[in-house]
Amino acid sequence: MEYRVDEKVRYAKTHEWVRIEGAEAVIGISDHAQDKLSDVVFVELPAVGATLVAGNSCMVIESVKAAEEVFAPVTGIVTGRNEKLDKNPELVNKDPFGEGWLLRVKLSKPAEAEGLMDPGAYRKFMETV
């Protein structure tokens, strides 16, 4: 199975992605992650203002199979949520790097993202899992 890899984002080993936009970042899960989840049926997003700590569980995505935790790839404060997922959780499957984004955060430790994998490293990483 060939998974899509977005070239403009960085990846965590737990298959979340981060797109840096100035002092903020957009967070989602990768194509690989959405495929492993199977059909997403509910996304439980944290509230605006919630604090994310890199590596910690920050929200839950429910698929037809199970409720799966999403781990924060960076540390920051939630400034925006993809409200469309409330009615259309399947966007996470259909467009994981686009319309299926999850959260927007204000970065507390902007340098942290440097520690995440670039697209090339993530491609190699996927071959090992």
Partner: protein, 367 residues
């Protein structure tokens, strides 16, 4: 264990999971949601070869069946099938089964749950002492598949020769040929849609499976996995052994007594206990409920009311057909009426839900 179609699934990008010791396709590339929708709108083909089937023959077959299962089989005419149960002495459900009365009056067939096949077979043999019956496992010689959905009849008709499928009512059994192979067809299923469960000969079953898929291509037939099978049966509120029913559960509390049991006409194992249960006040009753907001109630979650635990979820799902988050579970009898408010504990948070009528979905495709 592997079904006879295992190689086909693997070659066709199925995602495989363990189900009661069987390596089964949970979904194909299409995905469980689309597979579900396809069965409601067109048709789906399921490998259910993991299910057990036991032929019961011999002059003592009727007396034996009257003793070991809960339906009065003298009421099942040749060419008909009926839902039934095997109970333990306390009235607990050992298995829920289908009893086929094949056209030869002495040929009976029991279709049992995959995970219970070994247990049932041993128990039936143990209770066969004194009856002139032969119990034979047909698992190796046959392959069981299910063709389900409103287009199932149109897809199957050209393959079955002289057999006129439109003459068959619900739960009819007929011996016929499918693409030239001697098969047994039952108008039954586990999806809430009209359709067929087809017992094919083991030899050449993959060719027949491919033939069915080809025959249904223009009517949007696709293979479907256990994921869709589970969400389809849950919308129709059909029980799953291990979720809604088990040996600690009786058919009365599960609301299945009317469908599966006839107390009159025969003295079956568990009858005495069940008659007493039917006359006493149930400790708990199976209900259906609807979540007010998003969130999937899952098997084993706690049901509360006014801060007090009042029951447990047996099955939960996002229902593709209704667009709702639905579940079934056992609650205290006083709370069981539709309209009552309950809460489901999901990840330490109480989420509001309301008890509703079952089933959640009734197919408009029954004629």
């Amino acid at each position: 264990m592997e079904t006879k179609l295992h190689g086909w699934h693997v070659a066709n990008a199925a995602r495989m999971v363990d189900f009661g010791g069987w390596d089964m396709p949970v979904q194909y590339a299409t995905g469980p949601r689309e597979e579900h929708v396809r069965v409601r709108e067109a048709a789906g083909l399921f490998d259910i070869d993991h299910m057990g089937r036991l032929s019961i023959t011999g002059p003592g077959a009727v007396d034996f069946l009257q003793r070991v299962q809960t339906w009065d089989v003298t009421r099942i005419a040749p060419g008909r099938a009926h839902y039934s149960m095997l109970l333990n002495e306390s009235g607990g459900v050992m298995d829920d089964i289908f009893v086929y009365h094949r056209n030869d009056p002495r040929a009976w067939l029991l279709v049992v749950n995959a995970s219970n096949t070994r247990k049932d077979t041993a128990w039936l043999k143990e209770n066969a002492a004194g009856y002139e019956v032969t119990i034979r496992d047909l698992g190796a010689d046959t392959c069981l598949v299910a063709l389900q959905g409103p287009e199932a009849k149109a897809i199957l008709q050209p393959l079955v020769g002289d057999t006129d499928l439109s003459t068959l009512g619900f739960h009819h059994v007929v011996e016929c040929s499918v693409s030239g192979s001697p098969s047994t067809l039952c108008t039954s299923g586990y999806t809430g849609e009209p359709g067929y469960e087809i017992l094919l000969p083991a030899k050449g079953c993959e060719t027949l499976w491919n033939g069915l898929l080809k025959a249904g291509e223009s009517r949007r037939l696709i293979p479907c996995g256990l994921g869709a099978r589970d969400s389809l049966r849950a919308e129709a509120c059909l029980p799953l052994y291990g979720n809604e029913i088990d040996e600690e559960t009786d058919p009365v509390s599960a609301g299945l007594a009317r469908a599966a049991v006839r107390l009159e006409g025969h003295d079956f194992i568990g009858r005495k206990a069940l008659a007493a249960i039917a006359l006493s006040h149930a400790r708990r009753l199976l209900v259906g409920f609807e979540m007010r907001d998003g969130g999937v109630p899952r098997h084993g979650y706690t049901i509360v009311r006014d801060g007090r635990t009042v029951g447990k979820v047996t099955t939960g799902l996002f229902s593709p057909t209704t667009g709702k988050y639905l579940g079934m579970g056992y609650v205290e009898p006083l709370l069981a009426a539709p309209g009552n408010e309950i809460e489901i504990v999901i990840r330490d948070a109480r989420k509001p839900a309301r008890i509703v009528e079952r089933p959640f979905y009734t197919s408009p495709h029954w004629r």
